[in-house]
Symmetry: C2
Subunit: 470 residues, 2 copies
């Protein structure tokens, strides 16, 4: 296809700026339009998730655009979950039995800024800020914008339009409201919302608690988490029901009640948050939703990518990684040399959608896992066993978490199917007494246990295959 | 709650007219508004599904309102699926091994007319036709209508509004567009659409093919079905992809091509349809979609019911039955004597939504079953075995189909979980050679096989329970 083609990208968030960079590297003429001011010049982080977990699928995309080394200094490794109980006791539950496998806390703003800097280095990439997309005419391949500084509307024409404008995508809304084709669409809200809080650095500028972990205070009905930032602070997030249970966002309306709630359930965290009450009432409460849709494209004119196509809840730490992987996968399809954009878009959606559907479902599963299962005995036994498998037989076993997070060459869907089957096999064998926990097992016994798990996993996958008549 | 309350029902289709009748019987003041003309006076059936399968859940609702005897003469029993192969060979696959279990073909128009007649007998029920709902203000509990005869808008006030205005519900649209609360919503379109055709009666006014069956020409990628009408005709429906495969709705554009398609795949049906070409080009092609949403209610003001809350694809023959069951279940909640409408609506959704979600998913499963699985050897062996179980041990076994269709006291969700587990057990045991097909089995051997199936089913349910950490 002609490299002189003009590609309009709507939304210069993480996915849009990476896509602009990559398409710029490939030689296309790229115009990138962003609703907000330039985040490198104005602090616009309030109320958005300000740090994120970068893992192997995201890093693979950074390698694709040659940014791995520039991203590394922005990363704080997190080796596991630091679980905090009601009394403030902690235990570190590693993410993997292989030491080189960890996730990274990274600042959304710094990473996005880096991607914009790199994209701008290409003469064929132009970025405009303060341009809000109102709607897209996908039949004429034009988009209507408002310049938010002058409040004036204007229309932008392009050969193709790719919308990376996030969970509330204006282009996706045009697909839905246009009723020009059968557009399958879902938005599913959790009963829980979230609010960002903060552990500030101590007086020496140091971290107030253990740095290299994702801290979790899981309380079944709700939870608090904390991820480290480069400046010594932690971003803390409360996940809580809007209106159910004794304490919820709707009834935490006074200083006294907020303090009562935190001292009852998050005592050790509260001690690190003298700033709690101010943060609680200043910061917004936001909903958590999953968006799926299809088709992602209209003919060869327009395409949805990133959160615009598949917004997910944050509990697997895969939102950004999935959007970055979109770019990797799209790039792979471009390499296949299809004759026109419609064929490219179709091939991309066909190969990609099953995987973004899978990570959306896995992220919901992990919400329940993080809130409560991490505290259950059978879940902990399973994790202990899996850590031993990964440590002692590193080439033979990966847990569901590892498959999703550290195996960028296993698709999300395959990770989901195998991971769920493994979980089912282990939980059932533990329950039936067919296998025991790792304590005092010799290496031969562990080997034998792994073989049992593998056999049971294959049997589960085969039974499902037969029942599905596939 | 005060019986003098004014209830506005939007939509006088099957669900709305049954609901008006039942709430009228309970003494409420009911106003029922319908967009279309009175179907008892004007033929408005074109393009809508003109016959339906009434089964036990629907009949239970007819019993609730005292109409069972009046509905019976409208019913044509269908005892099984009449499967037609490419050569025109047929085999009758019964729906159940118990002779008294069958489904009924019934005319949508006659049944709806009966419900309207019965509702109108109550002085406290008023029905208005040609009143199209445009939107609902769920905060003030008012609805905006257009009188389609005068084209004049008007606003209707009520104590509560219940929308039974179908898959394209105006009130559900107001929930979605209003953005006043977190509204989870999905619309999922199948790749296939449908078109209604017809076998006319023969010159003597008799049925051209076997009356007491649902005829199926399953061809994997598409299918044709036929249900009998009281006048000797059959309503025939073609389910076909819009744009995939050698033959699809988008490329069946000439008389020659339509005849070629039918003579290749539905030869024996084509012989009964000299009217095929005219019907094909006169009748519309319609999409098939599933709609789910939540919450169904806004506070104690408004409630969605029937297809407005949960539209499903037609392949389990449960769309009408599920909507009728909505009324039965709502009536049961009213009997519980809750203090206010908000509590009633909450209790209703809490008990009901899991079941309408289940039948939506089961209906998608059955699309694949009807198109293709009915022709597969392992599927047929499973059905043969299940028929033998039902016939010989009528109190001990019900297939998934029977649980859904003939066991009105088993919830859809329980039917789905148990039915799927049974299917999985049987298909896997057949595949592994653990059980054999029914041919030449003694009664003891059949008994033994049933016990194996029961044990395996319980094990599957238990394994899933453990894996789900429930």
């Amino acid at each position: 296809m002609n490299k002189q083609q003009n590609i309009l990208i709507i939304g210069a968030g993480l996915c849009g700026s990476l896509l602009a960079l990559r398409l710029g590297q490939r030689g296309y003429n790229v115009t990138l339009m962003e609703m907000r001011p330039d985040l490198r010049k104005v602090d616009i982080s309030v109320g958005r998730s300000i740090n994120l977990a970068l893992s192997d699928r995201g890093i693979k995309a950074m390698q694709l655009v040659g940014l791995e080394e520039k991203v590394k200094p922005l990363c704080i490794p997190m080796n596991g979950r630091m679980l905090h109980d009601l009394e403030g006791n902690t235990v570190l539950a590693p993410y993997s039995g292989r030491e080189h496998e960890y996730i990274n806390s990274i600042s959304r703003g710094l990473l996005n800024g880096l991607l914009l800097d790199e994209a701008e280095k290409h003469d064929n990439v132009v970025i405009h800020f303060n341009k809000k997309c109102e709607s897209v005419d996908f039949e004429s391949t034009t988009a209507l914008f408002t310049d938010t500084e002058t409040n004036k509307p204007f229309v932008e024409d392009a050969d193709i339009i790719i919308a990376t404008d996030g969970a509330g995508s204006a282009m996706r809304n045009s697909y839905y409201l246009g009723k020009k084709f059968l557009f399958s669409f879902s938005q599913d809200w959790l009963s829980h919302g979230y609010k960002e809080l903060c552990f500030l650095p101590n007086e020496n500028g140091d971290y107030k608690t253990y740095t290299n972990a994702l801290h979790i205070w899981g309380r079944e009905a709700f939870m608090l988490i904390a991820l480290p930032n480069l400046d010594g602070s932690f971003t803390v997030t409360l996940f809580l029901s809007f209106d159910e249970g004794e304490y919820n966002f709707n009834n935490l309306t006074t200083k006294e009640r907020v303090l009562e709630f935190f001292s009852k359930y998050f005592k050790d965290a509260l001690e690190l948050m003298p700033n709690l009450v101010d943060d609680f009432f200043e910061n917004p409460t936001s909903p958590l939703g999953t968006v799926k849709c299809s088709p992602w494209h209209y003919k060869g004119n327009t395409l949805l990518m990133g959160d615009a196509a598949h917004a997910i809840v944050p509990f697997y730490g895969q939102g950004m990684n999935a959007s970055f992987e979109d770019v990797t996968e799209f790039d792979k399809i471009l390499d296949q040399g299809h004759p026109d954009w419609e064929t490219v878009f179709k091939a991309y959606e066909k190969s990609r959608k099953k995987d973004t559907d899978a990570i959306a479902d896995l992220a919901i599963d992990n919400f329940h896992e993080m809130k409560g299962h991490v505290n259950h005995a059978n879940f902990r036994e399973k994790r202990t066993l899996e850590m031993a498998f990964e440590k002692n037989f590193p080439n033979e076993y990966s847990s569901k978490y590892s498959l999703v997070t550290f195996n960028e060459d296993v698709s999300y869907r395959d990770a989901m199917l195998r991971g769920r089957a493994q979980d089912k096999a282990i939980l059932n064998m533990l329950s039936d007494g067919d296998i025991t926990t790792v304590n005092n097992l010799t290496n031969d016994q562990l080997r034998n246990t792994l073989d049992k798990v593998k056999t049971a996993t294959e049997a589960i996958l085969e039974d499902d295959r037969i029942a599905g008549l596939k």
